[in-house]
Point group: C2
Chain length 292, copies 2
Amino acid sequence: MDAMETVGFVPNPAARALSTNRTRTIAAVIPTLSHSIFASFLNGIEVELAAEGYALVIATTDNSKSAEEDRSLALLDMGAEALILSGAEHNPGLLKQIYARKIPTLCTSIFSPDYELPTVGYDNFAVAADAVEFLRGLGHRQLAILHGPTKDNDRTRERLAGVHDRLQDGMTAICIETDLSSHGGVSAIKHFLTLEERPTAILCLSDVLALGASFELQRQGVSIPQDVSIMGFDDLEWADIHEPGLTSIHLPTTKMGQKSAQLLVDLLENGTPIEHTKLETRIIVRGTTARI
Amino acid sequence: MDAMETVGFVPNPAARALSTNRTRTIAAVIPTLSHSIFASFLNGIEVELAAEGYALVIATTDNSKSAEEDRSLALLDMGAEALILSGAEHNPGLLKQIYARKIPTLCTSIFSPDYELPTVGYDNFAVAADAVEFLRGLGHRQLAILHGPTKDNDRTRERLAGVHDRLQDGMTAICIETDLSSHGGVSAIKHFLTLEERPTAILCLSDVLALGASFELQRQGVSIPQDVSIMGFDDLEWADIHEPGLTSIHLPTTKMGQKSAQLLVDLLENGTPIEHTKLETRIIVRGTTARI
DNA sequence: CTGTTAGCGCTTTCAA
DNA sequence: TTGAAAGCGCTAACAG
């Protein structure tokens, strides 16, 4: 050790990796970094991996399935030994490689026990359905659903399916698709305000949409929750300080990251097979939703 | 190629790395992922590196210098060939390793031409000073400065120094330190409202602080900008849809990431030495600031 | 228990 | 142009 110190010796990681056939590196391939929900997810992964002596390499796909395939294979070809993906919709070429090379892989943000690869996440269908039921319990019958693009996003599609599944007692839901950003929320509300028969509650399938929606409603003089109730999804950091507090659905994103990392490390180290894992969510009732 | 295809051959990255002494992997060690400013920074790095055929490994330090050292060395020991750090304040142990092992390193979020390692970022001192001058131009003489922790954060300290440098004509600035989050903004405003001689303008050294501040002011019935002007720093995605639009200082974070990646790749590929690089910022005037 | 060496799979040099 | 082999720096097996 002293000699190492004085001579400044540092083991060569490539040689070690070649010899042991281990790189202790895990790849996470996510749609985007510009949505804070993915940032906290990565945070959970990173903290857990760091504790286990692993490194995290990341890539973004901008919601493109072919980019997902390319970037995943690129990271694999640079030495990643396991893969964390989003959703349960992936290019056949990628799946083929995963099976052929037996790459430990996890699909996150989704709980889908019938999917061929293990999933760790929420039951998006049920969560959205529960949100509808909650609003129904407050007396709302006409809903507007603000959501991001459904193309290449199975999580959003599942949430929408859940919404439609739970409509009852003559409830209606008008879906407004927009960009997944606060700007998207603003333009969706501009459209919302042109509706002849205006819904009494707005369910935003993401909190950033709710933020834009809230500002635009305020700008147009529509009071929350007196004139319209609004409900979010994600329970981002600012949800409770929003005025009034934003009713939202808390998703344990950081925990999902930690759990994903744990499962993969446990597989890599001990061969423990990964089971589909459902994470619990809950509705946080605050001031933006009111009884009609 | 056909044979490779049929037999499913994939080159072994560790063997290649051992032979070429290149891993094509760059490490970014940032304070936290739960601040969207770092997410967009990483995004810039990642996109650029992907285009150049490099991989990005990341680690977070939670603003601890020793964690920064530990995590940086860990990533280096796992094969990263270059390092992207935040700020110009680093543990001696880390610096020693960087020099001894001649690790290409870049310090970001700061432009500091006299620092021993190359920096790429903004002149935090000047930017904050210009913000003060802007507010002074609107007639404000009493300012409140909301800011995150100064401990282990040279960027915040530089901004504060810039503020104090530009105070003139009997201007005063009350500094309120709080958590760097929207919750921090809320508690800072609670304190602000107890001040006997209330400042007429609030300069938030980060937009997330401004968000919390804005909500809390609204909650307390203080009108923006009639009763108080408020100005942010970062120009986050929602700044222009905030009601009224948030006056803020635009920082080209994504571009900083791209630039950092380019410089490092150019050094690695062509040996081009890295020069200190200053990125331009600008004040975006919107509705939250008014002439007194 | 210490010391030696084969071998991991690639790149690159050199020989044919 | 194609083919053979040395060597990158480590780990692990094996011999002493």
